[in-house]
């Protein structure tokens, strides 16, 4: 049950600017040694997500995401970057797949709760 946190593509924010706040801000941890990065989730489902950020990350990299969805907060959700595409403005669109099924369960519940509301 996917949730569109805004629209699927970052450029479409300009077409829904009044919904820009609805894109979920997310903290991106790439390594314990490096300070975290940030971006927004443009798409979220229990198994996959799409992330938009102006920070460059390589495909295949495992990242840990921290974000809030409704009343639920998720910390260090592990995901692998399946694909990375850079848009004409210099922003990166990342396609992510969540790695830990145990972490996907709470996301699913949060999405279901959000959808019910």
């Amino acid at each position: 049950m996917p949730v569109k946190t805004g629209t699927k593509r970052w450029p479409s924010i300009k077409m829904n600017r009044n919904k820009a706040d609805h894109f979920i801000p997310v903290v991106i941890k790439t390594s314990l040694d490096l300070p975290p990065l940030w971006g927004r989730l443009s798409f979220l489902s229990p198994d996959e997500a799409e992330l938009v950020s102006h920070f460059e990350l390589p495909e295949g990299r495992v990242v840990a995401l921290t974000f809030e969805l409704g009343r639920a907060a998720f910390e260090d959700i592990r995901a692998r970057i399946k694909k990375a595409l850079r848009d004409s403005d210099g922003y990166y669109n990342y396609s992510l797949s969540f790695l830990d099924p145990a972490q996907s369960g709470p996301i699913k519940s949060a999405i279901a709760e959000g959808s019910a509301r």
Partner: protein
């Protein structure tokens, strides 16, 4: 692209850095010392985006709130003095489009600046993309229409120009072999055949047979017609006048003519007969007896067949290999001779003729076949 941006920055050092960066990016940067200064020039500057330096007074959260109060949709981008993802996410939750990390460089700020300018696009830009899509679709539709029209026009033009013109045949082979007489009706051609003793009525266009009338008692050797009668010359020398009913009922018969005429015609006023063996043309009264008025000696070489209309006598002359035009008043004078290309066939023997509406019809034998054809009257 509208490229005015507003930068709220109190530090002169940071201003210098940011001025250089945004100048390189092509932005028209308007600097304000603080939020109040920014709001006072906000209406006048009408920036596409606002960049606020984090860590100054008032806090970035308050600046965000106040700016969004004035312009709810304007992109606001805090410039962080260090990489702090938690703060960045906090500011983004507060309404910031994104946050730039320190150190501020052209490479770091370029995507945020470009995205902010695109985000500052008005609703008109949104609609314009839809309009562009519609315009593109319309353009494609028009292009397809004109391409199709051009193709169809070219095809039509090429077809008309280069395809061979369907010509109506001027010559027809007959399903019988011994035609002797020819009469032209409104939309049909009637041909008599001596061997099968019949009258064959053909469709003028395709020469298909429309009707066959058997002449059990007559062996026709010549035929002519007027508005209301048909004359059949028999092999016995008798010319029968028949009605134009379904069975061509006999109306009258002449006495036996010697020599037997093998061509007959009616010019509307007089009846004409011809004997190809002697080359004699006879002018007759159009009564039942077809009484002779005068004989004429055909002046050409070899009379094959004769016909007439209201102006001329026409003779197919196998000796001259052409069509001779004679005067009705003086048949012993040839007005003109026009070569007939059908005489290229040495076996052709023209046996019947008729003239109507400027067209001369011929029927004849060519070897073991018979044919009918027509030509425009010679000038």
């Amino acid at each position: 692209m509208f490229n005015t941006i507003q930068i709220i920055c109190a530090s002169e050092k940071n201003r210098t850095i940011l001025r250089g960066i945004f100048k390189t990016l092509g932005a028209d940067a308007v600097f304000s010392n603080d939020l109040n200064d920014a709001l006072s020039v906000f209406e006048k500057a009408r920036p596409a985006a606002v960049f606020i330096v984090d860590g100054e007074e008032p806090p970035a959260e308050i600046q965000l709130r106040e700016l969004r109060r004035v312009a709810p949709f304007i992109p606001v981008i805090p410039l962080l003095k260090r990489r702090d993802a938690t703060r960045a996410v906090g500011l983004m939750k507060a309404g910031a489009l994104d946050c730039a990390q320190s150190p501020w460089t052209e490479e770091e700020l370029r995507p945020l600046y470009r995205k902010a300018l695109k985000l500052s696009g008005t609703v008109i830009e949104l609609d314009s993309s839809a309009l562009k899509r519609r315009r593109r679709a319309l353009t494609l539709l028009l292009a397809a229409f004109f391409a199709f029209t051009g193709f169809a026009g070219g095809l039509y033009y090429g077809f008309n120009k280069y395809s061979p013109v369907a010509r109506q045949p001027h010559s027809f082979y007959l399903p019988y072999s011994h035609p002797t007489g020819l009469v032209i009706k409104k939309d049909s051609v009637v041909i008599s055949d001596w061997y099968s003793q019949g009258l064959y009525e053909h469709n003028t266009n395709n020469f298909g047979i429309k009707k066959v009338t058997s002449l059990a008692e007559v062996t026709p050797v010549a035929m002519a017609a007027s508005q209301d009668a048909l004359w059949l010359a028999g092999a016995n020398g008798v010319i029968e006048k028949r009605l134009l009913d379904a069975r061509y009922s006999v109306a009258s018969k002449t006495a036996v003519f010697k020599p037997t005429p093998d061509s007959v015609c009616f010019d509307g006023l007089y009846f004409w007969t011809a004997d190809s063996r002697t080359g004699t043309i006879t002018k007759r009264m159009p009564d039942d007896a077809l009484g002779m008025i005068r004989n004429f000696k055909y002046p050409g070489r070899k009379l094959s067949a004769l016909t007439c209309d209201t102006r001329f006598l026409w003779v197919a002359d196998s000796g001259l290999r052409g069509l001779a035009k004679l005067s009705l008043d003086d048949p012993e004078r040839i007005i003109s001779v026009t070569e007939l290309d059908v005489y290229a066939s040495k076996t052709l023997k023209i046996t019947a003729m008729a003239s109507k509406n400027g067209t001369i019809w011929f029927a004849g034998e060519d070897g073991d076949k018979a044919l009918a054809f027509y030509k425009d009257e010679p000038k």
